[in-house]
């Protein structure tokens, strides 16, 4: 049944103009065209470029489509087209049902007014009628978990509380289509998980969801299919694991530029850093609990006396969870490095990290441990994929796993 498709985007293109002055002038001319009964200008004019080119997609009831891509790939433009904020320059978009957009949480929030007053305004902005709001006001307050803050001015709220309130209002408008754009990056973990859970529930009740995020593990966890956008074109679309793997493979760039500390001389630099599988093949992904090694190639220019290396692992967007320091620590047993190419390989037997995306930082100290020589902020990135026997009772899975023996006595 084709009516199951709530969003149909057919061969849609949208262009933007680089220069502001010219863009305004084109705006004026577009008004002229519209008033004289002419369709939109379909060709590129000077300084214009295609932000979205010939894009097709369909989202059906109950589906959650994830959209991933680097900055400037057209994700937000696509959402704005679907939301009716931009009109396509070519092609056609058909929307069935009411759209709820979690694009700017708390739009219209006024800092001096109370949470209660702001709920009313925000709801009206989102198109929730007075009667609908009366029916779900208590639910919104419950979901946002504001407690006594309900009657305080919103300027006294933390950004997380504001996001929670905005999300709570938007989610209660009972949309048929839900557009979500990076809004979950604010708010704490509990709220984020609660929000994801709620989106999942909405999808199960027949809502079509589009979820734009840079958080690949969230996309992986939530979406039924994923679309990889690059410069306005669809690179690939399909099952989350496959599309995410392709995206990670194509866009993961590490920056091995070494930054040295003031007062120290940089006598070496990092040429390459890679993760390798047990067969020595470069990889970007590993199954949680799998084995791999980290290989770093250095270009040493002057003899390095017993340097000390420290690799710090960070889940993307969070603070470090592990610092892997040079073994052995004993200075006498550490090798000194001679000028030329040197390769350091660290074998990890069993990676204890849970699914997610991790980056590795490198800090190098000299012979005296407190003397830092240099550091690399984005040495390498690794995507840890779930293992089939891993399961979690709540959404809070943590970051690492522990080997433990369970028994009842």
């Amino acid at each position: 049944m084709s009516n199951d498709a709530l969003i149909e985007v057919e061969a849609v293109s949208k262009k933007f103009c680089r220069g502001l002055k010219r863009s305004l002038w084109y705006g004026l001319r577009d008004i002229g065209r519209e008033l004289t009964g002419k369709d939109r200008h379909a060709e590129l004019r000077k300084e214009e470029f295609w932000a979205i080119r010939d894009l097709n997609l369909t989202v059906k009831r109950g589906e959650i489509l994830g959209i991933i891509g680097s900055n400037g790939s057209g994700k937000t433009t696509l959402l704005r087209l679907i939301n009716g904020l931009l009109m396509p320059d070519l092609g056609q978009i058909t929307i069935r049902g009411r759209i709820g957009a979690l694009i700017q949480l708390g739009a219209g929030f006024s800092p001096v007014l109370s949470g209660r007053e702001n709920i009313q305004i925000n709801a009206a902005v989102l198109g929730i009628t007075k009667r609908e709001l009366a029916a779900c006001f208590d639910e919104i307050v419950d979901f946002a978990n504001l407690g006594e803050f309900l009657d305080s001015p919103v300027q006294n709220y933390s950004s997380g509380m504001r996001a929670r309130l905005g999300f709570a209002v938007a989610i209660h408008m009972r949309p048929d289509i839900l557009l979500v754009d990076e809004v979950l990056s604010v708010g704490d973990l509990v709220f984020r998980n609660k929000a994801l859970e709620r989106m999942d529930k909405l999808a199960h009740s027949g809502v079509a969801v589009i979820f734009v995020s840079h958080n690949l593990s969230q996309v992986d966890r939530l979406c039924t299919q994923v679309l990889f956008l690059h410069k306005g074109h669809v690179i690939t679309q399909g099952a989350p694991a496959r599309v995410i793997a392709r995206y990670v493979g194509e866009t993961m760039v590490s920056d091995t530029t070494m930054r040295h500390y003031p007062g120290t001389e940089l006598s070496f630099r990092v040429l390459e850093a890679q993760f390798l599988d047990p067969d020595g093949q470069p990889i970007h992904q590993v199954i949680s609990g799998g084995s791999l090694s980290l290989a770093v190639t250095l270009d040493v220019r002057a003899p390095l006396d017993t340097p000390l290396f420290c690799f710090v692992w960070e889940p993307v967007g969070r603070s470090a969870i592990l610092a892997l320091t040079h073994q052995p620590r004993d200075r006498q047993m550490r090798p000194s490095l001679q000028p030329g190419r040197q390769r350091l390989e660290i074998a990890i037997e069993r990676l204890p990290f849970l699914p997610g995306r991790y980056t590795v930082r490198l800090s190098v100290a000299g012979a005296i441990e407190s003397q830092l020589l240099g550091k690399v902020d984005y040495l390498a990135t690794l995507e840890v994929l779930p293992r089939s026997d891993q399961y979690f009772v709540t959404n809070e899975s943590g970051l690492t796993e522990l080997n433990a023996v369970w028994c009842f006595h």
């Binding site: 863009s23 705006g27 009716g84 396509p88 058909t94 739009a107 006024s110 305004i121 902005v125």
Partner: protein, 297 residues
């Protein structure tokens, strides 16, 4: 602990009829009937939203103000006082008016204020809503309604001291005072018509904002606000061709004298307003989405 109610569980697995919308590059002006229909629906549908946004602005403004409404009441009184003073000291050479000059200038300034606010309100209200409009698909007519509510609110407040002064000074109150609001409304609609035409241009180019403020200052002197309608040619022609003159004079006559000096001119301008107001609304409807596209996210 209170159980959370999940709204999604209340929704039956549908099949309710879903509203279908199609977005395409086709020109909407070619289907004027559906355009008018959608516009009226949006105007009607956004009244609750406009009311809330208006109340928000008012509360926001006065929650951080000690003197509050004082700032609305005072400007027309001060302007009138200045002209009364200048005229009394013969610094200005103003022809004698047919009603006492202080009342003439007080009512004139109030009416002018309503007109000039009406010209500026649509753009001001629109600009205030831009951050929401570019992110959320809400009726684009809502800022217009907010602007109208603001004008009505300010006009209502400013009318009080003017009437008070008229009564206090022993000025005879005519029965036509009660139909004067209709004439004031026409003056407001004339201002709104001009204001709506300015919105798309003003949103794109800052120059419109500056230009309209200057234009209004110029128009102030081409309108018999603080002086009586001139009789000597060509000045009389310039002033009588100015559409604000007829409406402002008409409204002032109804408020003070009870008889309209030039009803024909008044009705002609009313007719023009009724002709151009819907056109301005349609223009706003067609142009504003294009303007918002240029404003980025």
């Amino acid at each position: 602990m209170k159980e959370l109610v999940d709204p999604s569980q209340h929704v039956p697995p549908e099949p309710r009829r879903l509203e279908e919308r199609v977005y395409s590059p086709r020109c909407r002006a070619r289907h004027p009937l559906s355009l008018v229909h959608a516009m009226l629906a949006d105007l009607w549908g956004s009244r609750h939203l406009a009311k809330l946004l208006f109340l928000r602005d008012i509360r926001q403004r006065y929650r951080q103000s000690v003197l509050g409404f004082f700032w609305i009441l005072v400007p027309p009184l001060v302007t009138s006082a200045i002209f009364v003073f200048l005229n009394a000291r013969k610094i200005l050479n103003i022809d004698p008016t047919d009603i006492p000059y202080p009342v003439y200038v007080l009512v004139g300034t109030l009416l002018w204020q309503i007109f000039s606010e009406s010209v500026l309100a649509p753009l001001k209200a629109f600009n205030a809503c831009v951050p929401i409009l570019i992110k959320i698909n809400m009726p684009r007519e809502a800022p217009l309604l907010v602007g109208i509510l603001q004008i009505l609110f300010f006009a209502g407040i400013q009318l009080i001291p003017v009437l008070g002064i008229m009564v206090w000074s022993g000025f005879p109150i005519n029965t036509t005072l009660w139909i004067a609001p209709l004439a004031i409304l026409m003056l407001m609609l004339l201002g709104l018509t001009i204001g709506m035409l300015l919105v798309p241009f003003g949103a794109l180019y800052q120059d419109i904002h500056e230009g309209s403020a200057m234009g209004l200052r110029l128009l102030f002197f081409l309108t018999p606000v603080v002086y009586p309608t001139p009789r000597d040619w060509p000045w009389s022609l310039v002033v009588s061709l100015n559409p604000v003159t007829s409406l402002l004079q008409g409204a002032r006559d109804l408020m003070t004298k009870g008889v309209m000096h030039d009803p024909a001119a008044f009705w002609i301008v009313c007719g023009l307003v009724f002709l151009f107001l819907p056109l301005a609304l349609l223009f706003y409807r067609l142009a504003v989405p294009l303007v918002l596209e240029r404003m980025g996210a």
